[in-house]
């Protein structure tokens, strides 16, 4: 990220002209990929395949440590992309991520245990169940706007968590074991990569299409959008369903990896909080925000893995600093720096 900035920060000298030019084009590519306005060149077309190729290479060549980290990263980017679609593009700041995530994990486990469903089907079913839940609660939560929507989704998540702990039908507080052996780590990594690929396609469609224009219109001013014929409820519902589906599949995948699920972990608020910090740190409503934020958060987690208390404190401080000084996150910061350098 610093690359273009440092190249431009230094006064251009003769000997470095070649190199500066090179960095300049890389920087332009970045700024386009990061969703800089008015640049209609589809840089995503070549940058994204490049990133996916690198991720695939890691999946083939990486050892277990890197596969673990890679899996976590892919899963979190998927969740963050889904959250960004709602919050960043739709203005729907949800604190209910964990409930959709948990529903996905439980549906997968239930289908595999009870019906011996094939894994691919169970994963998709996890997503569909989460999407169905989104439809069911939409009437209630969309009545609330802004902060009230946020609190409404938090209430939903907490209610569901307490229900899962206290109701014995789904294993209660002890949870469920997956009857089947989960696939190997490399296999899981592959599934996570495929899920992220699907997510990326969906997000590219959703953020570059005319749907995104309607969604952003609703985000900026719901009443004004209604007055030009935008059916705000449907637009928000579409974003909610898509995001919930992706969250549900991610939850199912996490359940599959763990092989054992219990309500504290899968319905726990830590998923919601991690995803939220990723997007806030990366940059809300920016295409590259989730990826950059996830790399940052996962990287920080690894660096401070031996000091969990310190990790929490530092993440908190970073969140405060980012919200205060870079409301558009690291990506927004880079964009501004780039605009200034130019």
């Amino acid at each position: 990220m610093d690359h273009p900035r440092s190249a431009f920060g230094a006064p251009p000298r003769r000997g470095r002209c070649q190199r500066t030019g090179e960095a300049g084009s890389a920087a332009a590519a970045w700024s386009a990929a990061l969703g800089a306005p008015n640049l209609r060149r589809p840089t995503e077309l070549w940058l994204l395949p490049l990133l996916f190729a690198a991720a695939a290479l890691l999946g083939v060549a990486g050892d277990d440590y890197w596969l673990e980290i890679g899996f976590r990263l892919l899963l979190l980017v998927t969740l963050a992309e889904a959250w960004n679609l709602m919050a960043g593009y739709g203005g729907l700041v949800s604190l209910g991520t964990a409930s959709f995530f948990g529903v996905g994990a439980y549906v997968l486990t239930g289908l595999v245990n009870r019906a011996d469903a094939p894994l691919a089907l169970a994963l998709v079913a996890g997503g569909l169940a989460a999407a169905a839940m989104a439809v069911v609660v939409s009437r209630a939560v969309f009545r609330l706007r802004g902060l009230y929507f946020t609190v409404g989704t938090l209430a939903l998540a907490e209610a569901l968590r307490l229900f899962m702990i206290n109701y014995n039908g789904f294993g209660g507080a002890t949870g469920l074991f997956l009857a089947q052996d989960p696939p190997g780590l490399r296999g899981l990594y592959g599934i996570a990569l495929a899920l992220l690929l699907a997510t990326t396609v969906v997000m590219t469609l959703a953020t570059r299409s005319r749907f995104s224009i309607l969604l952003r219109a609703v985000r900026d001013d719901e009443d004004a959008a209604a007055q030009i014929g935008v059916r705000a409820f449907r637009v928000k519902l579409a974003a909610f369903i898509v995001a919930s589906f992706l969250t549900g599949v991610a939850g199912a995948l996490q359940g599959l990896k763990l092989g054992a699920i219990e309500p504290y972990g899968t319905f726990g608020v830590q998923w919601t909080v991690t995803v939220l910090s990723i997007v806030v740190i990366g940059g809300q409503g920016l295409r590259a925000g989730p990826l950059v934020g996830a790399v940052f958060v996962v990287g920080l987690g690894e660096l401070l893995a031996d000091w969990p208390a310190l990790h929490l404190a530092i993440t908190g401080v970073i969140l405060i600093v980012v919200i205060r000084y870079a409301p558009q996150g690291l990506v927004g910061l880079a964009q501004r720096a780039w605009a200034r350098a130019r």
């Binding site: 005319r210 004004a224 209604a226 014929g229």
Partner: protein, 548 residues
């Protein structure tokens, strides 16, 4: 979109128009496009709209006028669907739409603008329009949709801003965007809520031309407006609203000539112009008000006097340059404001008047030049430091703190004063503007535009300022309310308050000011005593003619 066969004749709503065919059609189908009956809207105990009925024939342009707070915007909201009526029916194009939500009405061809512009701030101007196109025609070809948007922006004079985020547009350009976005719906019925406020004559002429050209494309227009020229030149018929009720109705010329309308809306200036005899009562009342205002103003200003010995002018600007990023707005402004004087800054929109006010307030740092208060350089001082020197701002757009009540808004400006002092100042402001006292506990922005402007002025006075910058205080106000505000300003001036008036209403500013500067392209193109400037032929040229 036009599933109704009877409306097929009107399909050609493209800018090319089908004026001829439409004219024929209008004559053949003389049915009403819009019929509203017995509309009622209550907010808690307040009745904003009380049994209002109106009819709009096809091809007609209907004006709605009335004092600020009369319920005009509520009426537009009721017709457009943003506000749901408590009672009454609305028939549009043969169907009952009284209970339809706003998006469904928009899809049937009702486009509206918001009095306070509500663009999609974080989207480009083009995307603001595309949202309307795509919501109606999700499968339209992208090139067609974008071409339509470009065409509409061209007509509305925004084509140069097509790729800018709407956030970057100043207030008056956002108003243009409101019109453009409503037009992007290809509306059959257009509801224009005060789109003319704040425009200078040349821009008003442009807007009138636009509205007239729209007559051949839309089937009906409802205009809520305070700019009388627009009302006079565009509307076929007028409805006057007062206290939520339709107070008078009829052909434009008749309504404007009516004495009752003059009394509730047009105000004394208009009444005086058309003859002294029939408006004696109005004038007498105004005079009585002026006398009491005079006493009050004296109280407000007298204690503001701060001992000073310097001979220097209260405020002085020396060749100030300023701008935003690459855009240079002020290019060498020299200005002196002596104590007790009223100085007016006139000029077209975009000339740099508000930028100048921002420099004086300290919210914008000049790139070159000096700002002096009492002869001391204060260039680049923070706004609170400037305020501490006794300079108060009455900012464009009022800037009322929405979450605070009227009284809290006022008290905020007098935080440093003791409790007794604060109470005294409050009492004086309330006496100057009794409307505020009645609404002291209401939210600041829940009041009508005129009351909000009173609040903004009152707030500026609460700090016992030595100089107040009044930036566009007449914007969007009914003539009768403007009269009251300028009466208050005149009283303050007689009481010795130094004031800088930034204004696009030339007549009112000239009547009040001692000195006048006319701005053009970031410079003072014409300066002098008000009397001399008024008679200077260059004023007309600078202000009304195309300055280029």
């Amino acid at each position: 979109m036009t599933d109704d066969p009877s409306s097929d004749e009107y399909v050609g709503r493209s800018p090319e128009g089908i004026a001829g065919r439409l004219g024929a059609a209008r004559r053949s189908t003389r049915t009403a496009l819009l019929e509203a009956e017995g509309l009622v809207k209550r907010y808690g105990g307040v009745v904003a709209t009380d049994q209002v009925s109106l009819t709009l024939a096809r091809g007609e342009v209907l004006g709605i006028i009335g004092p600020n707070g009369a319920g005009k915007s509520t009426l537009v909201g009721l017709l457009g669907g943003a506000v749901m009526p408590d009672d009454g029916t609305i028939r549009y194009d043969g169907a009952d739409i009284g209970r339809l939500p706003a998006p469904e009405r928009a899809r049937r061809g009702i486009g509206r603008t918001w009095q306070i512009p509500r663009p999609f701030l974080d989207m480009t101007v083009r995307d603001n329009l595309l949202a309307a196109r795509y919501s109606l025609h999700p499968l339209a070809r992208r090139a067609d949709a974008e071409a339509a948007c470009a065409r509409i922006l061209e007509r509305c004079g925004l084509v140069d801003a097509i790729d800018l985020p709407a956030r970057a547009l100043p207030l008056l350009r956002r108003k243009r965007l409101e019109v453009a976005r409503a037009l992007a719906l290809d509306p059959k019925l257009l509801l224009l809520d005060e789109v003319g406020a704040g425009l200078v004559d040349a821009e008003v002429s442009e807007l009138i031309a636009l509205i007239r050209s729209l007559r051949s494309e839309v089937q009906g227009i409802v205009i809520v407006e305070h700019v009388l020229r627009i009302v006079r030149e565009c509307c076929d018929r007028l409805v006057v609203v007062n206290f939520g009720r339709a107070f008078a109705e009829g052909p434009t010329a008749e309504v404007l000539a009516s004495d009752d309308v003059a009394a509730v809306y047009l105000g004394t200036a208009h009444a005086a112009a058309k003859g002294e005899g029939d408006s004696a009562a109005v004038t007498a009342a105004a005079e009585a008000a002026a006398v009491s205002a005079q006493k009050l103003a004296a109280a407000l200003v007298a204690r503001a006097a701060v001992p000073y010995e310097a001979k220097a002018p209260l405020l002085e600007l020396r060749s100030v340059h300023a701008g935003y990023g690459q855009a240079r707005v002020l290019e060498g402004i020299d200005l002196k404001v002596e104590r007790g004087r009223a100085v007016a800054i006139l000029g077209t929109n975009g000339a740099g008047k508000t930028t100048l006010a921002n420099v004086i307030a300290g919210t914008l740092r000049p790139t070159a030049g000096e700002v002096l208060v009492d002869g001391r350089v204060v260039t680049g001082s923070a706004p609170h430091v400037v305020a501490g020197l006794g300079l108060a701002q009455c900012m464009e757009g009022r800037r009322i703190f929405a979450p605070l009540s009227v009284e809290e808004n006022l008290l905020l400006a007098a935080r440093r004063a003791g409790a007794a002092e604060r109470a005294a100042r409050l009492a004086e402001v309330y006496e100057l503007f009794p409307d505020l006292k009645a609404r002291r506990a209401s939210a600041g922005t829940s009041m009508s535009g005129g009351q909000q402007q009173m609040l903004a002025i009152g707030r500026a006075l609460m700090g016992r300022p030595r100089l107040v910058v009044f930036d566009e205080i007449s914007l969007g106000l009914a003539p009768v309310v403007m009269d009251r505000l300028y009466d208050a300003l005149a009283a303050l001036k007689r009481a010795g308050l130094t004031m800088l008036i930034v204004e696009q209403d030339v007549e009112r500013a000239l009547a009040l000011a001692d000195e006048v500067h006319v701005m053009e392209h970031g410079r003072f193109a014409l300066s002098g005593p008000a009397r001399a400037v008024r008679d200077d032929p260059r004023l007309r040229h600078l202000y009304i003619g195309t300055a280029d």
